[in-house]
């Protein structure tokens, strides 16, 4: 079918009108003679239109007795017709050829320069450098020696560990990777300092100058072991050069650390309870605007609202959707609560303990818990106060760039 259509297009087709008394006979005669007719439409008793291949039209004319049928060409289609039309429009052909030529010529220049992979190196510096080497927008592509430019970039910028210069069409792409060199802060000598305040229970200095002993109480941020110069640089007796190395401090430092929290619970109190009534509204986010599609918690005297984002797809499975926020409001009411002293005490301890344990880092062993309970007020107005302390033993030694005398530990 497609082949037939392609053949018809390349050989050209004619739309013809045929008039006659017995058009069925015309159709049969054509088909008997191997002429394929397409889009045959009858317009009344004596007229039909159809499409026929240009090559078949002469055959058709010879076939038809002129006294019985009259044919007339009403349209021409296909490749030969198009070519004939184009041939008659020389300026169009010239324009087309000029456009193709211009496109080919313009594509031999570099019109875009892209630098990727640079983080610390400023892009402007790279652009300025390649410009100083004559590589700029508008340069002919064959004038660029990519290998040479790669070498020059690597020499000019020592921070570059790898660079590739590629020409992709009219784009000059400079992809590079930078060396992972330590920052001035990172290259400083390192002390061991206390991350938290506590009582030292285990102290094993492995390197550096120890400044504390077991049993000492330390404050957060206090230097526990100081970094040390490796050579005689400190006293200058060994004639060491400026490149004297520094030994970073290392130590095992375990300390008792305390975490405290307090809570208070009244014997006569009120608490917020959800009634179970819920109202949901949405906010629509369009062009940076947030448009509420209803009033959250409308009709509720008191409510607690929660928000979650949701995307409404324009149709199932579509990748296009509207960003919305679903606002769910729960109606709340205040209810009186009456507790006994023991209940209030238990609740206060529980609350304070939970708060204190939340402060303890994960994986740290708790060695002791102490609750101090006091009651203020009398009768129903009494309030139970709890101070809760959690004691842990943990490693508090952390490394920090030495803040000491910089003349002793010069930056490498």
């Amino acid at each position: 079918m497609i082949l037939d259509r392609l053949r018809a297009f390349f050989s050209g087709t004619l739309v013809i009108k045929v008039r006659g008394a017995d058009l069925e006979e015309f159709i049969n005669a054509a088909s008997r003679d191997g002429i394929t007719l397409r889009s045959v439409k009858r317009h009344g008793r004596y007229l039909l239109t159809c499409r026929v291949a240009m090559s078949d039209y002469r055959k058709l004319r010879r076939l038809l007795p002129q006294q019985r049928f009259r044919s007339e060409i009403v349209g021409k289609h296909g490749f030969p017709v198009t070519m004939r039309r184009i041939r008659s429009r020389r300026m169009l052909i010239l324009g087309l050829a000029a456009a193709v030529g211009l496109l080919y010529y313009m594509s031999s220049f570099v019109w875009f320069i892209r630098v990727t992979g640079n983080e610390a190196l400023p892009e402007d510096a790279i652009r300025q450098f390649i410009e100083s080497r004559g590589v700029r927008r508008g340069i002919r592509k064959f004038e660029i020696d990519a290998d040479e430019l790669e070498k020059e970039l690597a020499i000019e910028f020592p921070r570059i560990s790898w660079v590739a210069v590629r020409l992709q069409g009219t784009l000059l792409s400079i992809d590079l990777a930078e060396k992972l060199t330590p920052t001035p802060e990172e290259s400083k000598a390192l002390d061991v300092v206390a991350a938290k305040s506590g009582l030292i229970v285990t102290f094993i200095p492995l390197a550096g100058v120890p400044l504390i002993r077991e049993g000492d109480t330390v404050e957060a941020g206090q230097v526990l072991v100081r970094a040390q110069a490796a050579s005689g640089y400190m006293d200058g007796t060994s004639g060491a050069s400026d490149s004297a190395e520094v030994i970073n401090a290392r130590a095992v430092v375990e300390a008792r650390v305390w975490y405290q929290a307090s809570a208070q619970v009244k014997l006569l109190d009120t608490e917020v309870v959800r009634t179970g009534r819920v109202k949901t509204t949405r906010k629509l986010h369009v062009f940076g605007l947030s448009i509420p599609l209803g009033i959250p918690g409308k009709g509720f005297a008191h409510s607690e609202c929660e928000e979650r984002s949701d995307t409404i797809l324009l149709w199932p499975g579509s990748r296009i959707g509207l960003n919305t926020t679903v606002v769910t409001c729960h109606e709340t009411a205040l209810y009186p609560v009456v507790r006994t002293l023991e209940q209030a005490r238990t609740e206060a301890i529980r609350n304070a303990r939970t708060q204190a344990l939340e402060k303890v880092p994960e994986g740290v062993e708790v060695v002791d818990e102490i609750a101090t309970v006091s009651v203020s007020g009398e009768g129903e107005n009494a309030v139970v106060h709890v101070e809760f302390t959690v004691e842990t033993i943990e490693d508090i030694g952390v490394l920090r760039a030495s803040q000491g005398d910089d003349s002793l530990f010069p930056n490498p």
């Binding site: 088909s31 008997r32 045959v40």
Partner: protein
């Protein structure tokens, strides 16, 4: 051997050898696509052609395709494709073939 007998032998042979019968016995083959296209292979000519009816001659008798806006989308010596809104395709009672 009479024509009918020859046709019967051919038909049996085609069935035995699993060959399309319309090829061996020259029977019309009618293919209908929805209500908008009918293709008839092995036709013997057009008897009548109007936008509401196309009557075709086949070895099995005259076949009338009725409907509206009927056109002959493609017409060759052995195959005709009719397009339009098709209501029915019916063989006439007279001139029954196979």
């Amino acid at each position: 051997m009479s024509t009918r007998r020859v046709r019967g032998v051919r038909s049996s042979l085609a069935e035995t050898l699993d060959i399309p019968r319309e090829v061996v016995v020259d029977l019309p083959k009618l293919t209908m696509v929805g209500r908008f296209e009918v293709t008839l292979e092995n036709h013997k000519g057009i008897v009548e052609f109007h936008p509401t009816i196309v009557r075709l001659r086949t070895s099995a008798g005259a076949l009338a395709v009725t409907g509206s806006s009927l056109t002959l989308s493609e017409l060759s010596s052995s195959k005709v494709t009719i397009r339009g809104v098709i209501d029915s395709a019916q063989y006439s009672a007279t001139g029954r073939g196979q």
